[in-house]
Symmetry: C2
Subunit: 222 residues, 2 copies
């Protein structure tokens, strides 16, 4: 069975990615990060999702990005916007996907895996630079120069099965694969029990997705 | 004064890089990692070097790469070779430079810096894939797609002032800039006080560098 490292936040997208990787026959090693995010309840969600979808292993890596701050998600003195904003929003965490993919790359190399899955999406998304296709392609190219695999002629692949899907399409695909979205937490300022605010960008995109998919939204609200 | 993030291990190369960045007029924000490396004495060295060379700030970031292992530097059950080996040696730490550059990228973005310095070298080195020029170029390209700076038309630059230098040339250049190499620790298995084994690849490259430079080697041995 081929091994894959799956970045799992505990949100809707990465839960769907895990279900897709499992449906493709991968043995999934899930990696989550306690990066001192505001919405730490997503880590409980990641544990529920990993268990429900049959991860081979799930690790929560300690990574204190609040040491750098610079984002509403890692610096509690910066408020989470309650309505859409222009440009790259303050919820953007500097270099977050690069850091997380780099650590996934390390684990993959140790596991002998050549496949990393990440739930980035460039359709119904917040405009983060590190969710775009050209970024992922550049990361993959770099990864193949960075590691033993690349030197030995093997290829590391960064799988982004959601990148071209709308939120409604993601939800439909996950539902077909048996994902229970009531286990997931997307809200940037979820309370300790994972209840959502219903106001932030992430809540808005998630709710609009369920409406567009014609499915009931199981999100538990504050 | 332009700000730069300087990756500082506490070894000979990164101390030289810090001196070069300072000589180019950068205000230097030094970043070291407690990655549960075998030679943790290098962190004491990094503090001495940062202070001696006038760093604006020095941070030691906690990053437990022993959670993944896969290297003689992060897994004490794998011995450090006492003589040169074929291919990529077991002291290679999977994705280490990628992880460290990613975290430097995050800090640079928060500081408003566009300049990152790293002491990689592709002449007198151990054959690690993530020390090569093509890898650094690919990282820089990725970094400019990953971040706000890139989207806003600004450019992040990864500076590698040592990449084409021999170890002797590095030592001569650092000496001319006033680097006190007795403060640095290069040995992969230095003891708690930073005394070197004199046998590992890193000790060998360092000592040969001093000999070739015609300078006294100030390394304190076990």
């Amino acid at each position: 069975m081929k091994k894959a490292v799956v970045l799992l936040s505990g949100g809707l997208d990465s839960a769907t990615v895990l279900a897709i990787a499992r449906s493709q026959g991968y043995e999934c090693y899930c990696l989550s990060f306690d990066y001192h995010q505001r919405h730490v309840a997503e880590l409980d969600a990641s544990r529920r999702v990993a268990a429900a979808l049959g991860a081979a292993e799930h690790r929560v890596f300690q990574l204190d990005l609040s040491a750098f701050g610079g984002s509403a998600l890692t610096d509690t003195s910066i408020a989470v916007p309650q309505s859409p904003t222009e440009g790259i929003p303050v919820t953007y965490v500097p270099a977050r996907n690069t850091i997380m993919l780099s650590l996934a790359l390390a684990w993959a190399e140790v596991l002998g895996s050549r496949d990393i899955f990440i739930g980035v999406n460039a359709v119904d998304y917040s405009g983060y630079p590190d969710c775009r296709k050209e970024y992922i392609e550049a990361f993959q190219r770099m990864a193949n120069l960075a590691t033993k695999a690349g030197v030995e002629g093997d290829t590391v692949e960064i799988h982004t099965p959601l990148i071209d899907l709308s939120k409604a399409e993601i939800i439909r695909q996950g539902t077909a694969l048996g994902v229970d979205y009531s286990l997931t937490v997307s809200c940037y300022q979820a309370d300790a029990e994972g209840h959502a605010c219903g106001q932030c960008d992430s809540c808005r995109l998630r709710h609009e997705g369920f409406v567009a998919a014609g499915l009931a939204d199981p999100t538990r609200m504050i």
